[in-house]
Every structure is written in structure tokens, then in C-alpha cells.
């Protein structure tokens, strides 16, 4: 298998607390990849290593190797700004900027110097369509994004990430704060996006993982217990812990 993202021997310490204990995990190009596990198992922490969001927290020490498309993202020459353009992220809480929908989606583009109004318009329409929110907002793109419902806000946030055309999209429990209808829309959207993007999603919702992901990785206490094709993990997990977690014995 041609691996797009490879991580080796990843250790992460919050002060003296070891949150990741030697994780080796690879992801192929394209597709949806789910990270599951009980709260505090390190799955979100691992996800946030991939666009170096953990750099923002004080007293964090990260060791190990991270490569995306062969490039060491923790190398001395890595520009985190460039990295985050390639590796977009969607958060648990919808966090639109307090501007209009149009400005939200074009913000990243404008900052990278695109000024052509026609191109911006096209990108906005395309991104909002991809994010399955175009029909609901197309008539009031100048409305403040904060006036939308939580589910719509989250989809605008996804459109905002799509507009800068990243290669990888990280989603940190993107639907856990949303209603079931919005969650379904986002799941369907991810299934269509996986042809073009490498999508890594952290989720607490096992059904969600089984519905949309191609591969699933199970984390426990900062360690990667098992990773495999989703079908395989859910139908006949190889490790006892995975089986216990999936059958609801803990977590």
C-alpha cells in the first residue's frame, strides 16, 4: 500500500504526562480514516499533531517522525503556515469568523493573495456546494455566519477549509455538537469528498465510524491498539481491548 501519511514512534508529553506512547500509524492517499477510542485516549491529541496545532500549547514535547507525502512536517524547514494550508482542520465546536458567509469562505483565499472576484465567487459556490450547505445559504451570502444554525455553521466551516484546497482534512469530532440531520448531511458529504481528499476523522460515534470510514484505528491510553480496514475492525477485531470497547464494555 502506498502510504501518504506515515508517523513513526510518536511520543507526546504534556509536561511530565505522556499522552501518546509510541504510536506508529500510516494513512493511504484519499479515503476516510477514523480514529476511535474512549475519552482521553490520545486520538484528538494525535490528530492535532498532523497540522501541528499542539505547538500552540505550552509545555508540550513531541518526538517521533511525521511525514506527509514524504515531507517531514516537523523538520526545521517546515513552515507551519504552509503546512496548515495543506492540512485543513474542522473542530468540534463550529467556529465561523464573525463575518459574512461569503467572507468566511474566501478568507483563506484572500489571505493567500487571490483577489479576482470571479474566481472567488466560483470558489465560494463550489466549496459551499461540496459542503452541502449551498442551497440553504445561497440567497444570503452576505449574512453573518453567526446567524446560522450550528449545523449550518459547521458546514460553512468545512466549506472554508475546502476553499483553500488542502490535501488532507482533519476533523475533530465534527458532528458531536450537532443535530442528527446535520450529522447525516456531513457524513454524506464526507463520503463524496473522500475521492479527492485524505480525510482523518476523530469520532466518539461508533456507528459513524462504521458507516463512513475505510480504515479505523483504535486508541487506548495513548497507545494505538489496532488499525485495519473498518469492516475488519468491527466484525472481527484482533485484540481483546478493541473487542471490549466495541461491545460497550468500557469507554
Amino acid at each position: 500500500m502506498n502510504e501518504f501519511i506515515t508517523t513513526r514512534d510518536v511520543h507526546l508529553y504534556y509536561g511530565s504526562k505522556e499522552a501518546l506512547r509510541g504510536v506508529n500509524l500510516d494513512f493511504p492517499d484519499k479515503g476516510v480514516h477514523a480514529l476511535i477510542g474512549p475519552s482521553g485516549c490520545g486520538k484528538s491529541t494525535y490528530l492535532r499533531c498532523l497540522n501541528r496545532m499542539n505547538d500552540l500549547i505550552e509545555n508540550v514535547k513531541i518526538t517521533g517522525s511525521f511525514k506527509i507525502n514524504g515531507e517531514d512536517i516537523y523538520g526545521p524547514k517546515t513552515d507551519t503556515v504552509e503546512l496548515r494550508k495543506k492540512v485543513g482542520m474542522v473542530f468540534q465546536q463550529p467556529n465561523p469568523f464573525p463575518f459574512s458567509i461569503y467572507e468566511n469562505v474566501t478568507y483563506g483565499l484572500k489571505l493567500s493573495g487571490i483577489k479576482d472576484k470571479q474566481l472567488l465567487d466560483e470558489r465560494v459556490e463550489m466549496s459551499l456546494k461540496q459542503a452541502a450547505v449551498w442551497d440553504e445559504v445561497k440567497d444570503d451570502l452576505n449574512k453573518s455566519a453567526l446567524a446560522l444554525s450550528g449545523g449550518q455553521q459547521q458546514r460553512v466551516c468545512i466549506a472554508r477549509v475546502l476553499a483553500v484546497r488542502p490535501q488532507v482534512i482533519l476533523l475533530d469530532e465534527p458532528t458531536s455538537a450537532l443535530d442528527p440531520v446535520s450529522s447525516n448531511l456531513i457524513e454524506d458529504m464526507l463520503l463524496t469528498l473522500k475521492e479527492q481528499y485524505t480525510i482523518i476523522i476523530v469520532t466518539h460515534n461508533m456507528q459513524q465510524a462504521s458507516r463512513i470510514s475505510d480504515t479505523t484505528s483504535f486508541f487506548l491510553n495513548g497507545e494505538l491498539i489496532e488499525t485495519n480496514e473498518t469492516k475488519h475492525i468491527f466484525l472481527n477485531p484482533e485484540k481483546q481491548e478493541t473487542n471490549d470497547y466495541l461491545s460497550g464494555r468500557f469507554g
Binding site: V81, R84, F91, N95, P98, F99, N142, K143, S144, L146
Partner: protein, 297 residues
Amino acid sequence: MNTKLQNKIAITIIKAIAIMVVIILAFLIGRILLQGLPHISWHFLTSPSRAFTAGGGIGPQLFNSLYLLLLTLIISFPISLGAGIYLSEYAPKNGITTVIRMAIEVLSSLPSVVVGLFGFLLFVVQFKLGYSILSGAIALTFFNLPLLTRNIEESINSVSNLQREAGLALGMSKWRTVNKIILPEALPGIVTGIVLSAGRVFGEAAALIYTAGQSATNVNFSNWNPFSSTSPLNLMRPAETLAVHIWKINSEGIMPDATAVSAGASAVLIIAVLVFNLMARFLGNYLYKKMTSAETK
């Protein structure tokens, strides 16, 4: 005693205290306005003051107060904005920043008369700026900086961390995120803080007595060349402000209508400060609505 009764007693006492505060305030403002408003006229607001005869106004003092306020804000806003951004976004938690924060606390609790005397020794005497608007503006900056810095720091801190993450995760640099996302969102709070501090600066007297001086020189309001000594814009002329004028009339005023002038000037001062406070609320709310509401821009 049962808990319901306790609850009732507590609420009654708290309400009584709140009403008392309001009554005291209403009495003070009411008295000043009642005594002062009859003396306010266009003539009073625009004509120069007179030292020995009745019929003087507060024109130059009013202008000086506003001009000094403007200068103070021009000097102190950029400094406190920079300091506020640094403290909230960039400052690491270490000994140096703890000292900076403590210095700001101490500076904000300095009595204004001490700030005035310090300004007198350093700017008026040592730097030979004399009694001048510039000395006054610098002294007021000292007075204003800590409060404004704290206000800006708090406004920026109150912006949700999700916004910072959103900006950074979108591939914006830290500065862009602060500049384009955090600051616009903090803007309503910052504006409210500026206008409130303007009200405080406007009413300040003690820091100005020894810096901006106690004399309103005859300025010629048709001369707008800032380098001319009779121009109202001249930075180096002494400039008695409204608050200083009130203090001076009451301590050594010898004009026959001193009481009336003092009452009128006090009413003008109170009205100005009230306007600043109302403006702060209105502007803050307006900007907040503009940032968040569904209305189109």
C-alpha cells in the same frame, strides 16, 4: 429562621443598598445640573473666561479639555494597543511578564496628583516643556495607559480560543490571526474601553494642575497654525482645562459670579462625562451587533 425568610431578608437588604447608591448618584447629578443648567448658554460655552468681572465663559477651557483628550488618546491608544496585544497573545508566562503586569497594576493605582507632580518634575522642569498641553497630555497618558492596556488585554482575552485555532488551522500566521480575526472581534470591547477612559481623562484635574498649567492664555480661534503661539492648536501653550478651571474658581476665584460660573462649568463637565458613558454603551452595542447580527453589511 427558615430559608425562605432568610432569602427574602437578604434580597431586601441588597435591593435597599442598590437603591441607596442610585439615590446618592441621582441627588449629586440632579443638584449639579439644577444649579448649573440655568447658567449654560451659547455665550457661556464659547466666550473666554474673565478673572475680575462677571459674565465670563468657559470657551477656551472647554476647547482645551477636548484637545487635551484627543492628544492623550492619540499618544496612549497605540501604546496600550501594542501592550494589550503583547500581553494577551504573545507574552509567555514568566518572571518578566509578571513584573510587567505588576507594574501596570501599580501604575493604575497611583494617585493622580502624584502623576501630576511627577510630570511637573520630569516634563515641565527637566525636559523644559514648561506648563503646556504637551506636558499635560503626557501626564494624562501615564494616568490612562494602565487602565486602557488592561481593558484592551481583557477585550482580546475574551475572544474565544476557537477563533484563534480556526485562523491558525486555516494557514494564517499568528499575526494575521490576531490582526484580522481577533482584533475585529475584540473591537466593540476596545471601543467601549476607550470612550470610558475618555470620560475619566476628561474629568481629571489633579494630574493637570502642575503640567498643563492653570491659565487659559488668550487664544485666537481664527489662527489654526499649530506653530503660532496664539493658535489653539499650539502644543507648547499652557492650557487650563474645564476640571482645573472648576477647581481654581472654587479655591481662588475672585470674579463676582464665581459660584455661577463654577456651577455652569460643573454641569457642562458632568454632561460631557455622561455623554461619553452613553456613547460607550451605544458604540459598543452597535459594533457588537454589526459584527454578529444577521444584517447585511
